[in-house]
Symmetry: C2
Subunit: 431 residues, 2 copies
């Protein structure tokens, strides 16, 4: 039966791809889900892995396990090299993959803007290896600060700069300030932690620019209460691996510059040039169909349906991808049944961000609130969004323990990380 059903190939097992494949369960189509990793990861909690609050295994889940009971869904681990829209096949590292319908759900990647040439000097937070590298790097620097500074100042080694005042930057800044306050004094009593500055730079005049004014103001207040130095209207202009230069002429010595300043779409090569618009996104119509390629679709961060209402497309958020995935499953069924397609309409259920313990901001469509209750809501929403019972339980235990102990369980440097250009600074952490 599989061979006669239309073959739908989905590229990317993020929020959009997973929801789509799930919604196609037991439908009369053959689904192949292709991803470069063998796991789905829960991007919003990546900063928790970086700061030792959660294990990578708590926020990632093997793709094959999600689809164990989906008889018409198969999975392949492969790097997608491009698409031949005329020939209806994908070029991948494991060979060509033909399709009847293609869905590009490849998400987004870091946008380094003018820092692209020195991106290897920056730390990022877009994948689990990124988060583990950042975790190793932070703890390596603390060890190094105690051991052999090789002429560097203590400040340079333990200072942290975060570029970007979106949710990821705020969550990371908050987690680092809690680590500095509650955890590091216990583990590094020999270090003068008053020398450790956590600076957050945002180019816009406010934090969380996609959220309400209340959320922006409150999150700024929270960060300042927690000892994070927040700089608004602050454009980072240069970094040489040791010193951050701001456009206003000020500077900040640090070996650790974490980039959360922007993302861009990750389209795949081979699409018609007209289908590619600014920010690496793929232009789609109201049915998520790629312009000019009627049997190819794009959903999630990589897709943008530009309209008068949304001149830049919908925001690059997980709920958009998930809703588009579920909606596209219905439209694909319409297509195979030769029924008319139904346009996608995004239902905004709210946005939230957490800064620290009992400090979060929530914008619901009709209600905005901040503080302890917002933090509880944030935690429960995130725990229940994790895939699988084990991951929910493990996250719950680590957070529950953290709440009472003010401690973070995971400070292991399993694979030491060295930034590019750091080669002159040898040490056990560079092996």
């Amino acid at each position: 039966m599989k061979n006669t059903s239309p073959k739908i190939v989905i590229v990317g097992a993020g929020f959009g791809g997973i929801e789509l494949a799930k919604a196609l369960r037991n439908r009369p189509v053959e689904v192949l889900l292709v991803d470069r990793n063998n796991y789905h990861n829960f991007q919003p909690l990546m900063y928790q892995v970086a700061t030792g609050g959660l294990e990578p295994g708590s926020i990632a889940y093997p793709i094959r396990r999600i689809f164990r009971s989906h008889k018409n869904v198969n999975c392949r681990m492969a790097e997608v090299l491009g698409v031949e829209v005329q020939g209806n096949f994908l070029k991948t590292s494991i060979g060509d993959i033909p399709y009847d319908y293609l869905v590009i759900a490849t998400g987004s990647q870091n946008n380094f803007f003018n820092f692209e040439p020195i991106k290897d000097q920056l730390l990022t937070l877009k994948s689990i290896p990124d988060a583990l590298n950042l975790r190793s790097y932070l703890f390596q620097n603390l060890e190094k600060a105690l051991a052999d500074r090789q002429g560097e100042s203590l400040e340079e080694i333990i200072n942290v700069a975060i570029v970007g005042g979106g949710p990821a930057g705020l969550e990371l800044a908050g987690a680092l300030s809690e680590m500095k306050k509650y955890v590091l004094p216990k583990d590094f009593p020999e270090l003068d932690l008053s020398k450790m500055n956590i600076n957050l730079y945002e180019a816009a005049p406010k934090l969380l620019s996609a959220m309400s004014g209340e959320a922006s103001a409150k999150s700024l207040q929270y960060l300042q209460e927690m000892g994070v130095n927040v700089f608004l209207n602050a454009k980072v202009s240069q970094y040489d691996g040791r010193c951050v230069q701001l456009a206003d002429g000020t500077s900040f010595l640090t070996d650790t510059l974490i980039w959360t300043a922007g993302v861009k779409g990750s389209p795949i090569p081979g699409l018609p040039p007209d289908a590619l618009i600014g920010g690496g996104r793929i232009a789609v119509d109201g049915f998520n169909r790629i312009l000019g390629v009627p049997n190819c679709f794009a959903i999630g961060d990589v897709a943008a349906h530009v309209s008068d209402e949304n001149p830049k497309g919908l925001p690059m958020l997980a709920p958009v991808a998930q809703q588009q995935g579920r909606h596209l499953a219905k439209n694909l069924m319409c297509l195979t049944a030769q029924r008319p397609l139904v346009p996608f309409v995004f239902k905004n259920k709210g946005v939230m961000a957490t800064i620290g313990r009992k400090r979060a901001v929530v914008d619901l469509p009709r209600l905005k609130f901040q503080g302890s209750f917002a933090w509880l809501v944030w935690m429960f929403v995130h725990i229940f969004s994790l895939v699988g019972f084990r991951n929910k339980l493990m996250a719950f235990i680590d957070w529950f323990t953290n709440y009472f102990s003010y401690d973070r369980p995971l400070g292991l440097i399993i694979r030491p990380y060295r930034r590019s250009g750091e080669k002159s600074k040898e040490g056990p952490w560079t092996k």
Copy 2:
């Protein structure tokens, strides 16, 4: 006060080093514990990390956390390059470290014997990165088997050879056979797993040669019941990365050769040649004093007190190291108080190994038993031996869940692993 107390430097935060440093808590000595990692790991459960049964964070624990309340114990992460026994200082990657007393507790490393020149082709299980590499590699091969075999046979890709019939080899063989039976059919329904052979090679005529005849016989029976092909008196003579050659002329096609066939001590350079004996071990007297260097000691796997009773020294086991660590703490206190030293006597409390669910073997000094109860004993002893409440709880949850679900939670390929010499076989798993 710290500066006037004798300074004891301990190299290695394994079972021996940790017990010694703990036993020196609040004693009138200054202790510095040096390790190349910032964590202590529980070596006996490494195979569980490799086979996706436990997270690395469940069997490892940050060293600094163990010693948070030990005011006279400091920690450094450093690679030890050598010792200057005349000058009483260690040479390390973070500079010279002087000592009054030195304790070498550097443990053991893989002994590849005649396979040393091709050790990069072998998979090992001696560190957490090793175990994670093995985990990635096993799952990569399963993905590859489904995707693009590049001319290789299915058998070659999914077969597994384990060299060494000690506890590590048996535990790994058992875990892999359970994975093959219970987990892989659910995750890889497209694969013909009947083509997957797990071969265990032991050069001696029996398994678990350090244990009783009952344990050896029963563990062989267990492995055979579980579908592992066990070869006794089987000397592996060659491996080219694809085919294992045995001394008897037979061969076995596999990309996966896991080496658990032996260990040797890891001494540090600079000791007098007389102090080094066979198997990379350091000769010590009955007080664990290194021969010819009265203010230097060695404990654990790296130390050997050769006597008529133990012509090869004591077995290289965690309990020996732990007891020597605790005992040496007392002797160091005798030394500083100028009291006579007390010779070390090993109290054997038993040895055990597990093969699979409800299948373990236990040798106590006066009692030997095997089966379900042995397996329960093994589990509880190992859970209670993990450092920290969190690690015990996490291991308990993962094992408890595994018991009822027959499943293993962790199959994430977070960092793909490529063996050396495998460069011609490109794929997403090699990125």
